[in-house]
């Protein structure tokens, strides 16, 4: 009897071991199938964008679809290079770079300064002012869009880059982010600086800024990316085509009657995507840090 039971048990454990192993192999297979199919879905539009930007009109909607062909050319890129209305794509790249770079640098300066103020001074009203600053984040752009436009008309700022740069240079998110970062610095360091005769601004400029460089990089990447890809503000304020940015050119480019500009639009899309992609691949860790710290601490 006893041996029989033992035999049965052994058989059972063997079977459940096998089951478990099969289950594990199946689960692993499913996991990888999911990951791989999602990854393919993510990559496909990039490949299609790149491929279309070189294709002649007749091959864009070919059946079966064509990924690479001998008819590919740089014609599309030549069209956007010579596109007169916007002064060529290089002028548009220049506009986008000027706006994004100046916005990023100014916003980093003012957000770090504000974050430093909130992190390292115990002034009266600090808690209230900081809560107030966070509360302002709930005001949606939809409410301020119309009156702000009316103001910009009065300022004479329509058709300049200023409405895209100035209103957001000291923003609540950036100050919140930098305050988190700067709070971790030791106060003794600042006190040492004070003893050495540093002014309060000097402490910020010479001691704080160099130390929080990683944080500035994270935040700067987010600022640069959102400014580079912004469409709403440029479409409202940049009426003259020679002032256009890349997303604006992508949508507003026109061709000779009856011709679709898919190839040319994809060309601009490629030109707009590649710089950010390179920056992202180089600074990937900082990027992810910047994105996640807001979510976890907030």
């Amino acid at each position: 009897m006893a041996t029989q039971i033992r035999e049965e048990r052994r058989f059972e454990t063997a079977r459940s071991d096998l089951q478990r192993r099969l289950l594990r192999v199946g689960a692993l297979g499913l996991m990888h199938a999911l990951l791989i199919s999602v990854s393919l879905f993510m990559i496909l539009p990039f490949i299609w964008m790149l491929s279309t930007s070189f294709k002649p009109q007749t091959e864009i909607f070919a059946r079966p679809p064509i990924l690479v062909s001998s008819n590919m050319s740089l014609e599309g890129y030549r069209y956007i290079y010579e596109y007169k209305q916007t002064g060529g794509v290089l002028n548009v790249v220049k506009n986008t770079v000027i706006i994004s770079t100046s916005y990023t640098l100014l916003a980093l300066f003012f957000c770090a300064l504000g974050g430093y103020g909130f992190a390292k001074y115990r002034f009266p009203g600090r808690k209230f002012l900081f809560s107030f600053l966070l509360a302002t984040m709930i005001v949606p752009q939809a409410v301020t869009m119309v009156p702000t436009y009316a103001m910009m008309v009065k300022f004479g700022w329509v058709n300049t880059f200023l409405p895209l740069i100035v209103p957001g240079v000291a923003n609540a998110f950036g100050i919140f982010f930098m305050r988190q970062y700067i709070s971790t610095l030791s106060t003794e360091l600042l006190d040492a600086g004070r003893i050495d005769g540093c002014t309060e601004f000097g402490l910020f400029w010479r001691i704080v800024l160099p130390i929080v460089l990683p944080g500035l990089t994270s935040l700067g990447l987010i600022f640069f990316m959102s400014s580079w890809n912004n469409y709403l503000l440029p479409v409202i304020y940049l009426k003259t085509p020679t002032l256009h940015t890349l997303p604006l050119m992508m949508l507003q480019m026109t061709g000779p009657m009856g011709f679709s500009l898919y190839r040319e639009q994809m060309g601009v899309a490629v030109i707009s995507t590649i710089p950010l992609l390179i920056i992202f691949l180089v600074f990937q860790r900082r990027f992810v840090e910047g994105i996640t710290s807001g979510a976890l601490k907030g």
Binding site: L34, L35, M42, P45, F123, V139, T144, M145, L246, L281
Partner: protein, 313 residues
Amino acid sequence: MAYPSVALARPARRRHTLLHEIIRNRWAYLFISPFFILFLIFQAFPVAYSIYISLHDWRGLGPMDYVGLENYKFLLGAGGRAFRQSLMNGVILFFMYVPVMTFLAIVLAVLLNSKYVRGYRIYRTVLFMPYITSMIAAGITFQLLLQQDNGLFNIILQAVGASPQPWLETKWLARFSLCLLIVWGWLGYNMVIMLAGLQTIPHELTEAARIDGANAVQAFFRITIPLLRPVIVFSVILSTIGSFGLFSETQALFRSTGGAGPLRSTLTPLVYIYDQAFGRFRLGRAAAAGYVYFAFIFVLTLVQLKYFGREEE
């Protein structure tokens, strides 16, 4: 001996403390002032000015005619059907993609966080790439992929034996296509947030549950999801605001209808307001719509916080 002098000094010191503290910290006020100055000019003033505009009929260049609550009545009355549709669209889109995207983001994050999956960094990079891409560029690409005749998606569908679909032409398919674009753009972002959240949960917790006899699925629903709750709430609230504020996505995907899509099925509040203000030059109405929208989304966020946010207390 020291005691009375301290007691005497105290009232005098207290009187001077606040002013003294403010002066002592004058640099701090200077450092935080840029935000508050810009806030007053570009947020507080416009929000107040917007009330004034919303009570007028204003065609942009001409004079402003006072009309009282007429613009609000319009939005809530027969003429405001498009506006109410846009709010409804926000709700519909939210329910169409947020649950799926959030769940998928969590599952992918759990997979990448597990020790069984190799190539963690490659997957993370690939999934995150769409987030840094301009939604205009992505939208035009999707328009190309989703063409009814000879778009790549329909060609693939036919290759596997399914019938081609008019992805961008009918009401629900248009919404589905928009959701596809949004999920493409935002899944990686949400996954990265969830992944960071997961990394704060100690491995021992789920391992202990497994030792106590829970299987992987049980551990996922009973341990991982509850512990991730704050991060999930954050991402869901961001997605709510996101689905009402969709703009460039619809502009690129449904360019011929100014972003409204077939039968206004993808018209979002922000696109409605933009169109009223800059397409039709009805600035008063646009301002009023902005306010109603603000109230709507404010209440919605509070409700969400109440229902998902507070349970752990």
